[in-house]
């Protein structure tokens, strides 16, 4: 997997702010590129894939940031 071009830090943001930030950041990423959101909010694990499904983007998977926080990777498709 190539490195994401953009990462947004939503570690300390409560639900649904990580998803709001994800939606706001999407236009800054070129189609085909990756966008990662780092979020400790437990809802993000379910809501990043659900957002991708609803908004027609690709959910790539979950990783860990250097500090262990969950990092959810999305590919912009449109």
């Amino acid at each position: 997997m190539s490195a994401p071009t953009t990462e947004i830090d939503c570690r300390d943001l409560p639900c649904p702010r990580p998803i709001i930030e994800l939606a706001k950041a999407l236009p800054s990423v070129a189609v085909g590129d990756l966008l990662a959101v780092v979020a400790r909010d437990p809802a993000a694990r379910h809501d990043v894939p659900a957002w991708c499904r609803m908004r027609g983007q690709e959910y790539v998977g979950e990783e860990r940031a250097a500090d262990g926080a969950p990092r959810y990777v999305v590919r912009r498709l449109s």
Binding site: P14, C15, P16, I19, I20, A23, K24, D41, P42, A43, H46, D47, P49, A50, W51, R53, M54, R55
Partner: protein, 372 residues
């Protein structure tokens, strides 16, 4: 306390007392104080009322009176029912649908077993009966739990299509379904909760079919007559009266509610970036759940409460655990911005129209404030 002007749209959490229950409760409170095991007049009076309650509940649930026991709650009924089945089979493993009520999940966690299995659901929240049967056909499985209908999204489960291996009993948690839809017929134990159908809180029901092996998993004897100690006789009788009354009007109420819920489903589906979850047809008549992108569950519930509508949410921010609903998660549904609406028997079309208008305005306002 909810405002007298609030339109209460959370009957799936708890319903107001049905008028029939209220009358019965007030009459029984004065007569039903005695110990039903005693042979004096007060005891015989209480025994008469308790037996009457059991007979009515049995008839309503298509069971025999001696198959019915009253518990302190629907949760206690599930715990005693499920753990009593595994205690009797001597196999601790429990197979269950992934979207069962938390009382089932807690009963499963009570005794560890490598044979426990949670069976996945499809996007509507429905369990595949073949998957459930396959999971049950493994060594160490002592019981299977499958709900009649889901408490959060309303999807009906295909209980009567489940073919379990011989010797593996099925417990059906009917708490969300009783009084709303015809119940499944294929079960060995069934549980329900009176405050969900218009009876008083503090009355759960556990039905164990004759011929089903069930052993009290908690201290006490194995009878269903006095599960968990001294029974609340007046409340049990009021619960029975409510059940009888609710079933008498069920079809008429359900037709009306089904159409009103379709109206809410359409209004929610018309909102941008909003997903209505659960089966649109094979569902409870009075309940609908949807999730709105970019909206906090607590925000939308509070906003609707300010507008005079009382609804529930499965979003994490509204839960004591701060974990999102395991039901929504298992379905792959959006967990934030979640709203569950459940109508009462008297909810009107005007109230539903008012709700739909308030919902649309509040979702747009919250999104605009978030900069979206």
């Amino acid at each position: 306390m909810s405002s007298p002007r609030e339109v209460y749209l959370d009957s799936a959490s708890s319903t107001p007392l049905h008028p029939a229950a209220r009358e019965t409760l007030l009459a029984a409170v004065d007569r039903g104080y005695g110990d039903p095991r005693r042979l004096h007049a007060a005891g015989r009076d209480a025994r008469l009322l308790l037996d009457n309650a059991r007979a009515v509940v049995a008839e309503c649930l298509d069971a025999r009176p001696d198959e019915v026991g009253f518990t302190a709650s629907g949760t206690e009924a599930v715990h005693r029912g499920l753990l009593g089945l595994t205690t009797a089979t001597g196999r601790d493993g429990i197979v269950h649908g992934a979207v069962e009520h938390s009382s089932v999940l807690h009963a499963v966690a009570w005794r560890s077993s490598s044979a426990h299995a949670s069976v996945a659901v499809d996007v509507t929240g429905r369990v595949d009966p073949a998957d459930l049967a396959a999971a049950a056909d493994r060594p160490g499985v002592g019981a299977v739990a499958l709900q009649a209908a889901n408490q959060e999204v309303g999807t009906l489960q295909p209980v009567d299509e489940v073919e379990l291996p011989a010797g593996v009993p099925l417990l059906v948690d009917a708490a969300a379904a009783v009084g709303h839809v015809p119940l499944p017929r294929r079960w060995d134990a069934l549980t329900a909760s009176a405050h969900k159908w218009g009876g008083p809180a503090g009355v759960g029901v556990l039905v164990v079919r004759r011929g089903t092996r069930w052993t009290n998993p908690f201290p006490g004897d194995d009878g269903l007559d006095q599960l968990g100690g001294f029974p609340d006789v007046p409340a049990a009788l009021a619960a029975a009266a409510a059940l009888q009354a609710v079933l008498a009007e069920r079809e008429e109420v359900a037709v009306r509610q089904f159409a009103l819920v379709d109206r809410i489903r359409a209004a929610a589906a018309a909102l941008p970036d909003t997903e209505v979850v659960g089966d649109p047809v094979a569902r409870l008549p009075h309940l609908v759940t949807f999730s709105c992108l970019y909206v906090g569950g607590d925000e939308i519930v509070s906003a609707l409460a300010r507008r005079g509508f009382g609804v529930a949410s499965g979003s994490a921010c509204t839960a004591s655990t701060l974990e999102p609903s395991h039901v929504l998660a298992a379905m792959g549904a959006l967990t934030h911005g979640n709203v569950r609406v459940s109508l009462g028997r008297e909810t009107t079309a005007d109230q539903v129209e008012g709700f739909c208008a308030a919902l649309t305005e509040e979702v747009h306002r919250i999104r605009a404030e978030a900069g979206l």
